[in-house]
């Protein structure tokens, strides 16, 4: 029980950040993490016995977030309207909106496919190595490297296009 609590405490912020990266909505991300934690509680004995419990939880979060993203498509119009006037202050996205460069970066990254976004998030924000990312995303190592390379290249292209970078 204590071990399980320790695992959840150490990984909860990471799960939330990943969910937020995929669904791009603070409330939805919170719900995703809540669902993952409820499901993980029912399997706590198995989770404690895993070699890498955070990877399992990150994988669950990714799946849950993508499912929620798909089911939310019917509410896209409403969400767009809400997002325009009510960007959550707890996210870095409000800061991004106040700065052109960060805002462009954010929009570019959020336009990437969910898998590619997830790989960038786990590498750039969470600092996971390729093996850990592959484990958490169920992608192969070459896929992880490829997604990372493509994501970074797109960011660089954006910077160059806007004449931000030489």
């Amino acid at each position: 029980m204590d071990r399980y609590t320790d695992i959840i405490t150490s990984v909860r912020d990471r799960l939330y950040r990943l969910a937020l990266r995929v669904v791009n909505d603070a409330d939805e991300a919170e719900d995703v993490v809540q669902d993952v934690l409820v499901k993980s509680w029912t399997k706590r004995e198995q989770i404690i016995g895993l070699d890498n419990p955070p990877a399992w939880l990150l994988r669950m979060t990714k799946h849950q977030a993508i499912d929620r993203l798909r089911s939310a498509k019917v509410r896209v119009a409403r969400e767009k309207e809400a997002a325009a006037t009510n960007v959550d202050a707890r996210t870095p996205y409000r800061i991004a909106e106040t700065n052109d460069t960060l805002g462009h970066l954010h929009r570019l990254i959020q336009c990437l496919p969910p898998d590619q976004r997830t790989v960038l998030q786990l590498r750039e924000v969470e600092g996971l190595d390729y093996k850990e990312i592959a484990e958490a995303t169920e992608l192969t190592m070459p896929q992880v490297k490829s997604y990372l390379h493509r994501g970074r290249s797109k960011i660089r292209t954006l910077l160059l296009k806007e004449s931000i970078a030489p």
């Binding site: 799960l15 939330y16 919170e30 707890r90 924000v125 600092g127 390379h149 970074r152 910077l159 970078a165």
Partner: protein, 176 residues
């Protein structure tokens, strides 16, 4: 402290996806510093963006009961429609006549062997009764014929009014 040349080389490898986690940490440190070379200054927002994203923390956990869940209306409607359909079909089937009420005894072969007479005494009695019945029925027809012939003979013997004996009147014939 990473110098400009090293940072430039690391950046090149970074965009190729060939840097290690330690080298990427080195790059972050470089861009966090004050003396970023003007030629690389433009990449600064990217590292700032990732640093900001890394600072996000999950809000305090909310109590599960307080979370207002949306009802899966489409799913519930489907289930309700299926239940209604089952109910209607079940009631309709109950109104149909009971097929099992049809007489099916004829389809079962009769075991005649259990009616077979095996005792000689009983066989004799059965045979006697059968012959007696046959004899009675066979004699019934001739008896009726003889009786009717006798009646006819009697009629022929009677003398009709105004006629000769043995002459049949139309009325007498019609009677038979």
């Amino acid at each position: 402290m990473t110098d400009h040349t090293t940072a430039e080389q690391l950046l090149h490898r970074y965009f190729e996806g060939n840097t290690t986690l330690d080298e990427e940490a080195e790059l972050r440190d470089y861009f966090r510093g004050e003396d970023v070379h003007p030629a690389l200054k433009a990449y600064d927002p990217m590292f700032r963006y990732w640093a900001t994203a890394a600072g996000v923390t999950a809000p305090p956990a909310k109590h599960r009961a307080a979370v207002q869940r949306r009802l899966p209306l489409r799913w519930l409607t489907t289930v309700a429609a299926a239940c209604l359909l089952l109910f209607v079909v079940h009631n309709w089937m109950e109104l149909e006549p009971e097929i099992t009420g049809f007489p099916v005894a004829a389809t079962v072969p009769i075991d005649w062997s259990k009616y077979e007479v095996t005792d000689p005494e009983e066989a004799y009695l059965v045979l006697r009764d059968a012959l007696k019945t046959a004899s009675t029925e066979l004699n019934r027809g001739p008896r009726m014929t003889i009786r009717e012939l006798g009646e006819l003979k009697e009629v022929l013997r009677q003398k009709p009014p105004g006629g000769r004996a043995g002459e049949l009147s139309l009325t007498t014939i019609k009677k038979y």
